[in-house]
Amino acid sequence: MSFKDIELNMGPQHPSTHGVLRLKVSVDNELVLKIEPVVGYLHRGMEKLWESLTYAQVVPMTDRLDYIAAVSNNLAYVLAVEKLMGLEVPKRAQYIRVILAEIQRLASHLAWVGFMANDIGAVSVLLFGFEDREDFLDILETYAGGRLTVHGLRVGGVPYDLDDALIVRIRKSLDELPKKIKDIETLLTKNRIWRHRTEGIGLISAAEAIEHGLTGPALRASGVAWDIRKDIPYSSYEDFDFDVPVLHGGDVYDRYLVRLEEIRQSTGIIRQALDKLPAGEIMAKVPRILKIPAGEVFHSIEAPKGELGFYVRSNGTDKPERVKMKSPSFINLQSLPLMCRGNLFSDIVGILGSLDIVLGEIDK
């Protein structure tokens, strides 16, 4: 029995498709010929649901999209609505938003390292990644009350202020982070098995990446220096001094390194924001019943997974007429067939892991 041109199904229930994703894979003995992702198993009709909710009621729903990094969804949506309103958010609120978004980026990347390592076989790193993430989830819980569905932002600002105790706690967690990352790195970065599994796998060139709309760390690992925080700054990101890691290999290993470096850069941003936190209001004047005159806007941010954007169209009532979300995972997933060409079946899991997809985002 030979395996020429056999179609295998990495079905919706699979331990390492990160969510309910179905992959139809055609293999030739071990080599991947064609791979077709089938999505929609987690579709909840969010965009239609939002048309019947007020602008403020949509914000907690956005938590459920990219459920690993809830605050970044909140941020993208509230920034889009504020742009539509033409509202100026106070500086202190913007800095607190930056702090929350970067903490969420840390948490998202630490969870990603865990998932990725677990797929490749290093089962302990899953636990270490999640343990390191706990500190930051506890901070978010102390701030807003939720760890996964945070609802940490509001239209017009942030709901709570950062008191001194919380600031001290954030600093302490940031101080402890480098040691923990070092442990994960000792287990992975120089490990020969890890490098065998990730170097030279899932290659995508810069031109192909741009053509397919790849964004986020995967794009930066292919050599394209594009980060929305630097190129189209939002929410006072221009006040902070940080590097954007760019590597040129375009393989899984480089995506891994880029994300680890982003973790380090995020700690720098949070420290700067804490040091320079201005005094002031934390919420702009927003009417209780928010009606926005007719208009449309698209605004995107650099979420941990890529470019996360919201298109909002208003029609003068208190409910949006149409909200469309551009999810990074959906667009990134489309480059999966390109990345898998020439690789073996066992690599699919690694490549999928390096793309860092979340089905909540893809299926909405």
Partner: protein, 344 residues
């Protein structure tokens, strides 16, 4: 009057057979507990610790659960092969234990009780050969499942086992060369006479043997054929209930077998360490059987430690490692060992 002939000729061999069957099963139970507890502790969490003292009854809970599971077999599965496969794998592991000595002979009065079922002048060869029969079980299991995933897993597993048999054989050969005998008991006795264990004389042999042994038993980092995230569970995907338990136990029994071989060949079997140091002579008070157990437990612990730490090798790298690195290395090692033997 007791019929001493009856005792010596029937009861003791039967007792030994029962012991040989129970020994890997008991070690499997310990292994299941060890694996879950140690992996958990290495991941900074407590493992199962509520079922019995420190969770020691957890394996029994798992076994009980497997007993109660429904025994599923598809219509299109080949019934005979499907049922034979787990039995075959278990059978080969247990059979190989017949030739594995567990300790030095004990004197009870005038009788010398030997702690093995059979001693053969080619013991090591028999053990290696008998444990290779498990390959058939794997093929049967994969084929009889009549499903793509298990078949792929079975084929990979077979290639892996066959490829890694060669370094095992070659490194065992270097030990045999030094000990001038293929008899496992003789190998241990030779280490006793030479006052130094082969693990220290031939470290490269030990490391190559150990790596190949991990690959033989389909354990991390060489567990691609049964990796959950890749092929669901390889050749035993379609098995449930007691048949799956058989595969499970057979894998652990194979691990114990291989650890026993490592201990016997490279670490002195049942010998106490530091025999030359008179200050540590009290170590000899502990019977050989216990030293043997302690050493095997160390290697089982090492299995689990490695599993908790390392990622998985991809299949082609696995095979490349065997053919491009381990086999040439073991050949060179054998030559060097032979040269050393003649020089020294």
């Amino acid at each position: 009057m007791t019929n001493t002939g009856f005792v010596f000729d029937v009861l003791i061999p039967v007792g030994k057979i029962v012991a040989v069957i129970l020994y890997p099963l008991l070690m499997t139970i310990v292994m299941i507990w060890l694996e879950r507890r140690v992996v958990a502790l290495m991941q900074k969490r407590l493992g199962p610790n509520r079922v019995g003292f420190q969770g020691i009854l957890q394996p029994f809970a798992d076994a009980f659960k497997l007993f109660l599971k429904e025994d599923i077999m598809q219509d299109q599965a080949d019934p005979l092969l499907f049922k034979v496969a787990p039995v075959m794998v278990m059978f080969s592991s247990l059979l190989a234990f017949c030739f594995v000595p567990l300790g030095e002979p004990i004197r009870i009065g005038t009788y010398r009780l030997t702690l093995w079922i059979a001693q053969s002048p080619v013991g090591l060869l028999l053990v290696l050969g008998l444990s290779s029969i498990s390959v058939f079980g794997v093929i049967f299991g994969g084929w009889a499942s009549n499903s793509k995933y298990p078949l792929m897993g079975a084929l990979r597993s077979v290639v892996q086992i066959l490829s890694y048999e060669i370094p095992i054989g070659l490194t065992a050969l270097s030990v045999v060369f030094f000990a001038r005998s293929i008899d496992l008991v003789e190998i241990v006795n030779h280490q006793s006479r030479a006052k130094i264990w082969f693990g220290f004389m031939l470290p490269v042999s030990f490391v190559v043997f150990w790596i190949s042994a991990i690959a033989e038993t389909n354990r991390a980092p060489f567990d691609l054929p049964e990796a959950e995230s890749e092929l669901v569970a390889g050749y035993h995907t379609e098995y449930s209930g007691m048949k799956f338990a058989f595969f499970y136990i057979a894998e652990y029994a194979h691990m114990v077998l291989v650890s026993s071989l490592v201990v016997l060949m490279f670490f002195g079997g049942w010998l106490a360490p530091f025999p030359n140091v008179p200050a540590l002579a009290f170590l000899k008070v502990i019977p050989g059987f216990f030293w043997y157990l302690i050493k095997i437990m160390f290697f089982l612990y090492l299995y689990v430690w490695i599993r908790a730490t390392l990622p998985r090798y991809r299949f082609d790298e696995l095979i490349r490692l065997a053919w491009k690195w381990l086999i040439p290395l073991s050949l060179v090692n054998f030559l060097v060992a032979a040269l050393l033997w003649y020089i020294l």
